[in-house]
């Protein structure tokens, strides 16, 4: 009896539809966990990189020097990406126009684009996590409903409706729900945690962009005053 009611035995004896549902849920759970681990590592690394870049940025180093540290073809991430996009735009616009407003507008646009790309990069696959979190309970529920239907069909064929005739069916059906929840709960928790993390990072990027924008603005203001004078 114990052996017949053990989880592997129940899974093996389940009907095909329920087995497919279980397989789908298992795959979803594995993929969601891959995403969770990958995102967690990536977030931690992005946080560390941002801290390092801010320290370096505010250490009083010359911006031109900072910009030239990295070859322009190399792709950068995070706040550095925003800084490079803004500074490149600033350097390109400076010889062409004398209007500081036009330069600042161009720099701001360019930084917004960079920020938007960063956002996309940080939130990559988080949608998948959200999908698993919201859909897998329903998929598990479908397996359960299907299994219960099977149990009632078998009940209609049995002469004696004892608990032992329906118990394996119901247990097997409930396993599908359990697996759905098993996939959904970590997905929900980590989706919330990771999206909060990415939101916090994006906020920091935005702050940095504003600060950089104000620095550029200050420089332009000084230059226009000098040019005007």
């Amino acid at each position: 009896m114990n052996d017949a009611m053990s989880i592997p035995h129940l899974i093996m004896n389940a009907s095909t539809v329920v087995q497919l549902v279980m397989l789908l849920l298992t795959v979803g759970s594995i993929l969601s966990w891959v995403v969770i681990f990958q995102r967690t590592f990536m977030m931690r690394r992005a946080r560390k990189a941002h801290r390092g870049f801010e320290d370096r940025f505010w250490s009083g180093v010359d911006l031109n020097e900072l910009y030239r540290e990295v070859p322009p073809e190399q792709e950068t991430q995070g706040a550095e990406h925003i800084f490079r996009a803004g500074f490149r735009e600033f350097n390109r616009l400076m010889p062409k126009t004398r209007s500081p407003q036009a330069i600042l507008d161009g720099v701001q646009r360019s930084m917004r684009v960079a920020w938007s790309r960063e956002e996309e990069r940080l939130n990559l696959h988080l949608v998948f996590l959200a999908t698993v979190a919201s859909a897998s309970p329903y998929i598990g529920l479908f397996g359960t409903v299907w299994g219960i239907m099977g149990s009632f069909q078998s009940l209609s064929m049995a002469q004696q409706a004892t608990l032992s005739t329906v118990a394996p069916w119901i247990a097997e059906a409930l396993i599908a729900t359990a697996m759905g929840l098993f996939a959904a709960i970590p997905a929900v928790v980590f989706y919330n945690r990771l999206s909060a993390e990415s939101g916090r990072l994006l906020g920091k990027y935005e702050d940095f962009a504003e600060e950089f924008h104000s620095i550029l603005h200050r420089n332009l203001q000084g230059r226009s005053d000098a040019g005007g004078a």
Partner: protein, 392 residues
Amino acid sequence: MARRQARVGYGIPTLLAVGLHVLVLLLSVISLPTREHEPSPSSIVQATLVSTETVTDQAQRAEEARQRALARQAAEEAAAQEEQRRAAEEAATQEAQRQSDQAAEEQAREAARQAAEAEAARRAEEAEAETRRLEEQRDAEEEAQREREAEEQRRREEEAARQQEAEEQARREREAEEQRQREAEEQARREREAEEQRRREEQARREREAEEQRQREAEEQARREREAEEQRQREAEEQARREREAEEQRRREEEAARQREAEEQARLAREQAEAEMQRLIEGADERVANAQQGQQAANDFIALVRRAVEQAWRIPPNVSSGATAEISVRLGPSGELFVAEISRSSGDSAFDRSAVQAVEAAAPFAELRQLPAGVQRDYRQFNLRFRPGDVR
């Protein structure tokens, strides 16, 4: 700095995720059996089968049967040996009967009877009632046979005496005949002499010839008569001999038939005894095998009964957790409930009543019919102990 590994690969996360799932699977496989054991006592809380009074009893009975069969086998062997000895004695007795006279035969029979009686007495001590009955029956038959044989012997002797008498008679008759013949011859001779004298005296040779003729005729007559007599005698002897032979034949046949019959009977008795012994041994074996096989089926049955009763049991409120009631249940041959009565009350009448009602509600235990036929009878009566657990 951050630039060294700008991109986080998917290899390590994949490995980690798969490893996590395998771990969860292993945990579920390993820990589940132990977790399943724990709830089982609390779920069986309500009713426990106390005694089926059969499982142990059955084993005991099988043991007894085996011992009985062994004892009987020993007894049978002893009986067979005795029988052989008795057969030898019987043969000896018959030999003596045939050879010696009545007294010797009587003596031998007496000795045989004494020996047989001694044997029977010894046997009565060790053999079972059945075998004793068989032996006694056989004894009685033997006695009857012996009596019959004695009668036969007497009859045979009488027959012989009668035959002798007849022979004597025939001999006497023959002698008388011869006497008569001799007298007749004497007479004839005398007559002839007289005739001759007369012839010599008065007549010539013709008369003598006639006389001679007559004499010849007479002689012829006498000879014919003698021959006829001899023929008759021979026939009589032949007849007597045939009768004797027929008698002998009949006696021998009877003897043989009787002997055959006795042997047949003894053989039948032996076979019957052996068959019975075999049956007993087989029965014991079968019962031992049944006890094991039946126990398995019975365990299922007990579990079914217990579960059915558990499901039907509505525990009344406010029952102390230590209350225990025993219900003795008796089932019909197809599993219907005959009697459910309280064999040991818990002191709480509501609790007792609820237990009886549970048994009545669960009542037709149709699974009884699925038990092996030999075991069914044993599981028609059992006790159920009701004890409320902490779980309702």
